[in-house]
C-alpha cells in the first residue's frame, strides 16, 4: 500500500477510533489518538520516500499526492511535534467531557495537515485545507466561551482565506489548464502581470490568514488562548505553519518565476506587514496578564519574523525563515504545553495571581526556561541561530528598505525579552502564595514531552546543522542552493559565528561560576522563603504578598501608548457594524406583506417588458 495513503488512513482511522473509544472508556480516546499519530509518525519517518506518489482520479481531474524535500520538512515537523503533544494530551484532557469529540477533531486536524503537506496539486491541498479549518474550528468552540463568537471570527477569516485560495486556484487553472503546483511554478512567468498580481494577492491572503499576518490576524489571539492548551500547541505550533508552507511555495518558487518577482513590490509589502505584525503583536503580548494570551500574541509576532524571512527571499533569509518555523513549532508547542500544565495543576493562568511555582513544578519550569531562551533568541539555543540568520540576511541583502526592516524586527525581538521575562516571572518566580501551596508537578506523561522538546532545543542550538540539512535539501528542491555547516553560521559577506567556541565559553564559564558559588556556599546557606526579604525597614504582615506583578510593564505601556491606541479589531468591528446595518436594510426588501410581493412581481414584469428588447436582444 502506498505509504502516503497509509499515513492519512491511519490518522483518519485514529480519529474514528478515538471517537468510538470514548464510549468504552474516556481515557482510551486519547490513547487511541496517540497511538495512531505515533504509528503514522513511524511510517512517515521510516517508510515514506520521494518515490511515493499517487493519483486519485475524480471526474474531470485527479488529485495528486507526493512528497519532496520541502514537504518532507513540514511533514516531519507536523508529525514530530504531534506525537509529543498527543502524548501530553492524554493526561491533559483526562477528566474533561466530550473527549471523543475533542480527539476526533484533533486527529482530523493532524490528518488534514499531513494531507496539505502531501498534496502536489491545489485541489487536494484545498480540500485538506478546509478540513483543517473546520476541524480546528470545532475544537475552538469546544471550550464554549461566549457562545462560539470567537469561533465565528476564526471561521470568517478562515473562510476569507480559504475562498481566496479557492479563487486563486481556479483562476490559475483556467489560465494554465492545470491544477498541479509544479505547473503553476513553471507557468507563472507566462501569465500577464495583472493575472500574476491577482493570483499572487489571492494566495497571499489565503496563507496570510493562517499565518496571522496583519491585518488578517485578529482571529488569532483569542482562538489560540481559548482552545484547550493541548490543541493550541498544535494550533500555534503547526497549523500556522501551514500558512508558512504555502507562502514558502509561493515566495520561493512561484514568484521567482514571474516577472512579478523582480518588478513588483509585493515581497517588500509582505515583509513590512510581517515586521509590523511582529512589533504590534509583541507590544500586545507584553501588556497581557493572562499567560495564554501572552503566548498567543507572541505566536503572531514570531510568525511575523518567519514571513519577513520568506519575503526577503535571499537564500539565507529563506533558510532563517524555515529554521525559525521549525524552532518556533518546538518552543511554542512546549510553552503552550507548559501553560496547559500550569492551568491544570494550579487552576489559573493569570500571571497576576500566580507565582513561585518553580519549586513546585521544577521540570515544567525547566522546559519553560529553555523554550523561553529559544523564543527570546538568546544564544546559545536554537532560537538564536534563526534570529541571527534573519538579521544577517536582512543586513546583507543590499536593499535600502531592508535596513529599516531589520530595526523593526529588532525592536520586536528586544521587546520580546520583556514578555519572555514576564512569562517566567509571572508563573514561576516571585513570592509564594499560600493558595498555591497544594500545587504539585504535572504527571510524568505531561512532563516528558515538554522536557524532551526543551532538550531538543538545546541540541539544535549546539548543532544547528542537524536542522540545516533538511532545510537545505528543501531549499535545493525549490531551486535555492545554500551552503551550510554543522556548527558554523555564515552570511554572504563571509562573516561567521562559530557555535563551538560559543558553547565552550558559555559552558566553561557557567561551570566555573556555578562551582564557585556552590562550593562551600550551597551547603552553608539555608533556603528561606521568598517572604524573608529586605523590605527597607517595613515589616509586612505574614499574609501580605508583595510580588510586583500587576501592570508589570506600566512605564513601557505609557511609552508605547500612541501605537496601542489603534486596534485593528475596532476597524473590523466598525466594518462589521456597517455591513450589519446595510444588510438589515437589504433584508427589509422582504416585508412579509403579500401585497408588496405582488407589487414586486408587477414592477419586475413591467420593467422586463419595457427593457426586454435591450437586454435580450444581443
Amino acid at each position: 500500500m502506498n505509504s502516503l495513503l497509509l499515513v492519512i488512513l491511519i490518522l483518519l482511522a485514529g480519529a474514528v477510533l478515538s471517537f468510538l473509544a470514548n464510549r468504552i472508556m474516556p481515557i482510551l480516546s486519547g490513547v487511541m489518538s496517540f497511538l495512531s499519530i505515533g504509528a503514522a509518525a513511524v511510517i512517515f519517518f521510516v517508510q515514506v520516500s520521494a518515490a511515493d506518489s499517487m493519483a486519485i482520479p475524480i471526474s474531470g481531474f485527479s488529485l495528486h499526492w507526493g512528497i519532496n524535500a520541502y514537504s518532507w520538512l513540514f511533514g516531519a515537523m507536523v508529525l514530530g511535534l504531534s506525537v509529543f503533544v498527543a502524548l501530553y494530551a492524554i493526561a491533559f484532557m483526562k477528566g474533561k467531557d466530550r473527549l471523543g469529540y475533542f480527539f476526533f477533531n484533533f486527529n482530523l486536524t493532524i490528518m488534514a495537515m499531513m494531507g496539505i503537506v502531501f498534496s502536489t496539486d491545489w485541489v487536494s491541498l484545498f480540500i485538506f485545507w478546509e478540513i483543517m479549518t473546520w476541524s480546528s474550528f470545532l475544537i475552538i468552540i469546544y471550550a464554549g466561551i461566549s457562545e462560539g463568537r470567537v469561533g465565528t471570527k476564526y471561521m470568517i477569516f478562515s473562510a476569507i482565506g480559504g475562498y481566496a485560495m479557492f479563487m486563486a486556484i481556479l483562476v490559475s487553472n483556467s489560465l494554465l489548464g492545470s491544477f498541479q503546483i509544479a505547473d503553476l511554478v513553471s507557468g507563472f512567468g507566462t501569465l500577464s502581470l495583472g493575472n500574476q498580481a491577482l493570483i499572487g494577492i489571492l494566495f497571499m491572503v489565503a496563507f496570510g490568514v493562517k499565518s496571522a499576518v496583519m491585518p488578517l490576524h485578529v482571529w488569532a489571539p483569542r482562538a489560540y488562548a481559548d482552545s484547550p492548551m493541548a490543541f493550541t500547541a498544535i494550533f500555534s505550533g503547526l497549523l500556522s505553519k501551514m500558512g508558512i508552507f504555502g507562502m514558502g511555495i509561493l515566495m520561493i518558487s512561484v514568484f521567482a518565476q514571474g516577472t512579478i518577482g523582480q518588478t513588483f513590490i509585493f515581497s517588500n509589502i509582505l515583509a513590512w506587514l510581517g515586521a509590523v505584525t511582529s512589533v504590534i503583536a509583541t507590544f500586545y503580548a507584553l501588556i497581557q496578564k493572562d499567560a495564554k494570551r501572552l503566548l498567543a500574541y507572541s505566536s503572531i509576532a514570531q510568525l511575523g519574523y518567519i514571513i519577513v524571512g520568506l519575503a526577503i527571499g535571499t537564500p539565507l533569509s529563506i533558510m532563517a525563515a524555515l529554521f525559525l518555523a521549525v524552532v518556533h513549532a518546538i518552543f511554542k508547542g512546549t510553552l503552550f504545553m507548559v501553560v496547559g500544565a500550569v492551568e491544570r495543576q494550579a487552576g489559573t493562568t493569570n500571571m497576576e495571581e500566580l507565582g513561585a511555582l518553580i519549586r513546585k513544578m521544577p521540570w515544567t519550569f525547566m522546559a519553560a526556561l529553555f523554550s523561553i531562551i529559544a523564543l527570546a533568541g538568546v544564544p546559545p539555543l536554537g532560537g538564536f541561530v534563526g534570529k541571527w540568520m534573519l538579521y544577517e540576511s536582512l543586513i546583507t541583502s543590499g536593499f535600502g528598505a531592508n535596513y529599516f526592516l531589520v530595526i523593526m524586527v529588532f525592536l520586536s525581538s528586544t521587546a520580546a525579552f520583556l514578555y519572555s521575562y514576564r512569562f517566567l516571572f509571572g508563573l514561576f518566580l516571585g513570592q509564594e502564595e499560600p493558595e498555591f501551596d497544594h500545587v504539585k508537578e504535572a504527571p510524568a506523561i505531561m512532563v516528558v514531552p515538554m522536557v524532551v522538546l526543551a532538550l531538543l532545543l538545546l541540541v539544535i542550538g549546539a548543532f544547528p546543522g542537524l536542522l540545516f540539512e533538511p532545510i537545505a535539501n528543501a531549499m535545493a528542491y525549490m531551486g535555492v542552493d545554500v551552503n551550510w555547516n554543522m556548527t558554523v553560521l555564515s552570511n554572504v559577506w563571509g562573516d561567521e559565528v562559530h557555535m563551538e567556541p560559543l558553547w565552550t565559553s558559555i559552558l566553561v564559564m557557567f561551570v566555573i561560576g556555578a562551582t564557585f558559588l556552590t562550593f562551600k556556599t550551597r551547603r552553608n546557606t539555608r533556603y528561606v522563603t521568598t517572604k524573608d526579604i529586605h523590605t527597607s525597614g517595613e515589616i509586612p504582615e505574614a499574609h501580605e504578598n508583595m510580588t510586583f506583578s500587576v501592570n508589570f510593564y506600566q512605564p513601557f505601556e505609557r511609552a508605547i501608548e500612541p501605537v496601542m491606541k489603534r486596534k485593528m479589531d475596532t476597524y473590523y468591528n466598525r466594518i462589521g457594524e456597517g455591513l450589519e446595518s446595510l444588510f438589515g436594510f437589504a433584508r427589509k426588501i422582504y416585508t412579509g406583506n403579500g401585497q408588496t410581493y405582488a407589487i414586486y412581481v408587477i414592477i419586475f414584469l413591467s420593467i422586463l417588458i419595457l427593457i426586454g428588447e435591450t437586454i435580450f436582444n444581443k
Partner: protein
C-alpha cells in the same frame, strides 16, 4: 418488465385518489401505500435511468397513441430522468421521515398524504412532460398541493403564508397561461420540441414578450428575486417534511422549467446573462437576509433561495461544465437542504420560540439531530470533504474558465456570509448554555433513518463523487443537445 414514464404520473395520482378509500379499510394503509408507490417509482426511475444512460437514447412515451405534435408526450431523457430519480428518491425519504406524521390524528394525515402524492405527481410531471401546456397543468397541480400543504396547520401564520403563496402563484399561472396562448398563436403547436424548431419564425419583439412572460411566471416558481416573496413564509410555516419537499421537489421543478424554456425552447442569447445577473442578485439578497434571520426555518428558507440563485448563475454561464455543476448543485441542494430541513424541524419542535438563540445547548439533548444538522451545515457551505464542495468547485471552475472573475468573487463572498450564519447556529447548538433539559419530541426511527441515509449520501458523494458524476454528465450533455432533443421527440411523429 414493462415500465414506462407514464407510471410516474398515473400511479401516484391513482394512489392519491385511492387513499380515502383505503382509509376505510385500514388506517395504516394510508401511511403504507404512498411509500409503496413512491418506492415503486424510485425503482422505475432507476431502471429507466440506467436504460437511458446505457442506450444513450431517451425514452419517449406518447400518451393516448397520438403522436407528437398532437398528443401528449413524456420525455424521459438522461436530463429529465436524473431530476425525476432525484425527486422520487427524496420523496421516498420524506415519506419515511413523515411516516409517523400526525400519528395521533389520522384525518389530517390522510390529507397530508393525498396532497403529498399530488405534489409528487405534479413535480415529476413538470419534468417529464414534453408539452408546454401540460407543463402548465402539472404546475397547477403542484401549486394547489403546495398551497394546501403550506396552510396545513390551519393556524394564522400558515394561512397567511399560504395566502401569499397563492397570491403570487396566481400571477405565475396567469402569466404562464398568457405566454402559452401567445406562443401557440405564433407557432401553432404546444410541443416543446416543435416550438424549439419553429421559434425562429416568430418576430423578435413578440418572441421577447413571450419569453419575458415565461421568465416572470416560471421565475416565481424558481424563487428568482424579486419574485420569491412567498418562499420564506411558505417554507417556515409549512410542516417539516413539506419544507423538504419544497426544496427537493417544487423548486427543482420550477428551475427545471425555467431552464427548459431558456435552453431548449427559445434561442435568446441575452437570456444567459440575464440568468447570471438575476441569479447573482437573488443569491446576494437572499444570503444577506438569511444572515439577519432569528428564526431557524426562515434562515433555511432564505438559504434555499440563495442556493437557487447559485443554480441560476451556473445555468447562466451555460457551458457544459457549468451546466454539469448546476445539476450537481441541484442534486446536492436537494440532499443537503433535505437533511437540514429534516433535522432543523426537530430543533424547532424542541424550541417553542423557534428562535435560533433559544436553541443553545440542544446538541447535548438531541445529539443525533444536532450532528445531522452540523453535517448539513458543513456540507451546504461547500466545505470538503462533503458533497457540497464538488458542485461549488465545478461551477466556479466553469466560471473561471469563462473569465467571470467578479462573479466568482461575489459567489465566494456570499459563501462567507453563508458560513457565518450556519456556523453561528452550530456554535449555539453545541456550546451554548442549555436553557432546560426537556426534550419535547425525540426523532422517530424513520426520521433518523431518513436523515442517516442523507448524511451517508453527503459523505459518500463527498469522498467519491464519481458515483453520481456519470449520470450528471450525461444529463448535462442531454440538456445542451438541443438538436438531439428535437430530433428524438419528432422522430416519434414519423414512426
Amino acid at each position: 418488465m414493462v415500465v414506462s414514464p407514464v407510471h410516474f404520473i398515473a400511479v401516484p395520482l391513482l394512489a392519491a385518489f385511492l387513499i380515502p378509500l383505503l382509509a376505510k379499510v385500514s388506517k395504516e394503509l394510508v401511511r403504507i401505500v404512498p411509500g409503496l408507490v413512491i418506492g415503486y417509482l424510485s425503482v422505475v426511475s432507476v431502471i429507466l435511468m440506467t436504460q437511458v444512460v446505457n442506450t444513450g437514447q431517451p425514452i419517449i412515451e406518447v400518451i393516448g397513441g397520438w403522436s407528437p405534435p398532437f398528443g401528449i408526450n413524456l420525455v424521459f431523457s438522461a436530463f429529465t430522468g436524473f431530476l425525476v430519480s432525484l425527486m422520487t428518491f427524496m420523496a421516498f425519504l420524506i415519506w419515511i421521515y413523515s411516516y409517523r406524521f400526525k400519528k395521533i390524528d389520522d384525518a389530517p394525515a390522510q390529507k397530508y398524504f393525498i396532497l403529498f402524492m399530488m405534489l409528487v405527481t405534479g413535480s415529476t410531471g413538470i419534468v417529464l412532460t414534453g408539452d408546454i401546456f401540460n407543463l402548465f397543468v402539472f404546475m397547477e397541480i403542484t401549486a394547489i398541493a403546495a398551497y394546501s400543504l403550506t396552510a396545513f396547520y390551519r393556524d394564522r401564520d400558515g394561512a397567511e403564508a399560504a395566502f401569499k403563496y397563492l397570491l403570487i402563484g396566481s400571477f405565475a399561472s396567469a402569466l404562464m397561461l398568457l405566454a402559452i396562448v401567445l406562443l401557440y398563436s405564433q407557432v401553432g403547436t404546444l410541443n416543446m420540441a416543435e416550438i424549439a424548431q419553429r421559434i425562429h419564425t416568430v418576430p423578435q419583439g413578440m418572441k421577447i414578450t413571450i419569453f419575458t412572460l415565461f421568465v416572470v411566471g416560471l421565475g416565481i416558481e424558481a424563487e428568482m428575486f424579486p419574485l420569491n416573496g412567498w418562499a420564506p413564509d411558505a417554507y417556515s410555516q409549512s410542516p417539516g417534511p413539506v419544507g423538504v419537499a419544497f426544496a427537493a421537489l417544487v423548486v427543482k421543478a420550477g428551475v427545471y422549467s425555467l431552464v427548459r424554456v431558456v435552453f431548449t425552447m427559445f434561442d435568446i442569447h441575452g437570456a444567459y446573462e440575464f440568468l447570471i445577473i438575476m441569479g447573482a442578485i437573488t443569491m446576494v439578497i437572499a444570503e444577506i437576509s438569511a444572515l439577519k434571520q432569528t428564526n431557524l426555518k426562515r434562515m433555511l428558507a432564505y438559504s434555499s433561495i440563495g442556493q437557487m440563485g447559485f443554480v441560476l448563475i451556473a445555468f447562466g454561464i451555460g457551458t457544459n461544465a457549468a451546466v454539469f455543476g448546476a445539476l450537481f448543485l441541484m442534486f446536492n441542494h436537494a440532499v443537503i437542504k433535505g437533511l437540514l430541513f429534516m433535522s432543523g424541524s426537530y430543533l424547532v419542535y424542541n424550541t417553542p420560540s423557534k428562535e435560533i438563540k433559544d436553541m443553545a445547548g440542544i446538541g447535548k439533548k438531541l445529539p443525533m439531530v444536532s450532528f445531522f444538522f452540523a453535517l448539513g451545515a458543513l456540507a451546504i457551505v461547500g466545505l470538503p470533504p462533503f458533497s457540497g464542495f464538488w458542485s461549488k468547485l465545478y461551477i466556479l471552475m466553469a466560471a473561471a474558465d469563462a473569465s467571470f472573475y467578479y462573479l466568482m468573487g461575489t459567489i465566494l463572498i456570499v459563501s462567507i456570509i453563508e458560513i457565518v450564519y450556519y456556523f453561528r447556529v452550530m456554535g449555539r447548538l453545541y456550546f451554548g448554555k442549555p436553557q432546560n433539559d426537556v426534550v419535547l419530541q425525540k426523532p422517530t426511527l424513520g426520521g433518523i433513518f431518513a436523515m442517516g441515509v442523507l448524511a451517508t449520501v453527503i459523505i459518500v458523494i463527498g469522498i467519491h463523487p464519481d458515483f453520481v458524476t456519470g449520470f450528471i454528465q450525461s444529463a448535462a450533455d442531454t440538456l445542451l443537445d438541443k438538436a438531439g432533443y428535437i430530433n428524438n421527440v419528432l422522430q416519434l411523429t414519423n414512426l
